[in-house]
Symmetry: C2
Subunit: 338 residues, 2 copies
């Protein structure tokens, strides 16, 4: 199934829709589950009903069908999960971490290869896939981070990766917005990120793992998504790293890590961290990483962080060239300028 | 007004109730606002109606009245906000930080006196005031942290402390559960707390600032609560620090800091950090701090962290000796033992 939430003037969770495989049409299923959060909390009872509607949408439905592609272009589509009680972001691609460390003449601690890095983020407002990224200042060092994430049902405290896998309900793409110039000062304080992370954007749809076929849980390992993440910055190609390659911790490992000392409740969003491959020819899913490589190889960083008016795009295609999640496209704007 | 949420078998947000000033009786107001989250999102439209019901509860109401004190003893009361999309915890009492640093022969950086420490926590499940604190292991170094917190309406990005003040809707007590022995390893990784913080418990009721009279925003400064936080550990007195004394950053400062680069959405919970006074005679609101003082003064820490079966209690009384928020009482149990 593919789920989207359409924006609503007063309901901050949006209105739940099912979207066809090619992201062209959608039906309102809010009579079955008003919101995606509700569906996640009552998954066992509602999954069959939702699946019936999804199959009808592909084969012919009695429900009024809306033009999803147009709704998306018109900015009417919210994040599939417009807010979450739990947003935790791992850092599963150590080539990303290695480049950060190398640029400051450091090595990656050995423990990083078996104990995942993860930070707790704020989930009270996820940007829609086409929403503007509003900032007060360009001096923050505005950057994208292209990621894959999973949305879970309830996960018990101490869940193993296999138990975590059974609780994964949906897969989604994430633009984890970072303010690079605020990070060093904030991390030096020792308590993680608060001001140095912005609101995230999610892809237009969140999909059930069965939509991903053999690209999910294939020979590269369970809980890894074997497709390339296509990133554009300022309307130019920026990278297409494979999301399963060079991934030290799977998404199941990350969910298990997150649940080590506390249960996770339905609707938790767990991110992979910035997708990154060792092979620099695959480019980058964040500007900082390109700057670090430039710094080491050219003596100075050249690629600028995002400025007002700049745009980023994050997408992923199946082997037939069809978009799986739809594209995230965010343009940076000055907050309060509209 | 004083708000509580009663537990419900399927609704994770509980059922909204108004509670009388002395916490003896309560009325279901879920026909006005089904949940506290809903009330916070529609505050301007609902505040007057809720206030009318609150005044009726004090003077004589047509609604069925329940015995709130009994419901609390029977474990039927959830956290007033049973889950939140945004839980951010400051560290406003620098005597707490100074003791941590002194024990390792360090000084507090000068910047800590004007740039607040704050971490992002997980808010997907707040423990009820009398719920058990379930852990898998005593080896985690289980500790309480007694705090004051505020619950806000929408706060715009870049809000000043005065603008933050206008968005504060409710005040609450918090037990911010910490796993001390997991903290050093996790903070060394640099991304803040994930495994080393447990679920938090909230006090039985959350109160509107007008309930606090001159103790809120009095001569000690706006956004500080001039009452003592009474803490018991293992049923013995542990501390009664004054929550307004030695508070470097007010709760309004902390909300403003949290909103520096992103808006906060209605229902955000912002904590003060562990209440702590320079005068050691006031005792402590967490075990670690007592251990650090023992380490410096006696050569070794004596007070043990919490063990299975141990209990903690956090409360606050007005000048008439009446509890304001009701007591948080949590007992540590082994998860899965029941």
């Amino acid at each position: 199934m593919k789920f989207a939430s359409l924006k609503h003037p007063t309901n901050r969770d949006g209105v739940l829709h099912l979207v066809d495989r090619k992201l062209q049409s959608a039906v309102d299923v809010s009579d079955i589950a008003p919101t995606l959060q509700f569906a996640l909390e009552h998954w066992a009872a509602l999954e069959r009903k939702l699946l019936d509607e999804y199959e009808s949408l592909e084969c012919g439905t009695d429900r009024p069908v809306i033009d999803f592609a147009k709704a998306l272009d018109d900015g009417l589509v919210a994040a599939p999960l417009p807010r979450t009680y739990q947003w935790l972001d791992g850092s599963a691609y150590l080539s990303h971490v290695e480049r950060v460390r190398r640029a400051r003449g450091d090595k990656v601690p050995e423990s990083f290869y078996h104990d995942p890095l993860m930070y707790q983020g704020g989930g009270d407002a996820m940007m829609g896939p086409r929403d503007d990224l509003e900032c007060l200042s360009e001096d923050w060092g505005i950057d994208l981070e292209g990621e894959v994430g999973v949305i879970t049902g309830d996960v018990k405290m101490g869940a193993s990766p296999a138990e975590a896998a059974a609780a994964v309900r949906l897969v989604v793409l994430i633009n984890d917005v970072s303010y690079r110039k605020l990070i060093p000062g904030e991390l030096a304080k020792g308590f993680g990120f608060v001001n140095s992370k912005g609101l995230n954007a999610l892809s237009p749809v969140a999909v059930t793992p069965d939509e991903l076929g053999s690209a999910w849980c294939d020979q590269k390992g369970a809980g890894k998504l074997d497709y390339r993440l296509i990133c554009h910055v300022r309307e130019k190609w920026f990278g297409n790293p494979n999301a399963a390659d060079d991934m030290t911790f799977s998404l199941f490992d990350l969910v298990s890590h997150a649940a080590r000392t506390r249960p996770l409740k339905a609707g938790a969003l767990i991110g992979s961290g910035t997708v990154s491959n060792h092979d620099v020819a695959t480019g980058y899913a964040c500007i900082m990483e390109k700057r670090l490589v430039e710094q080491v190889e050219l003596g100075a960083a050249k690629e600028d962080f995002l400025r007002f008016g700049d745009s980023v795009e994050i997408d992923m295609f199946d082997h037939q060239g069809e978009t799986i999640f739809g594209a995230i496209k965010n343009r940076v704007t000055k907050a309060g300028a509209n």
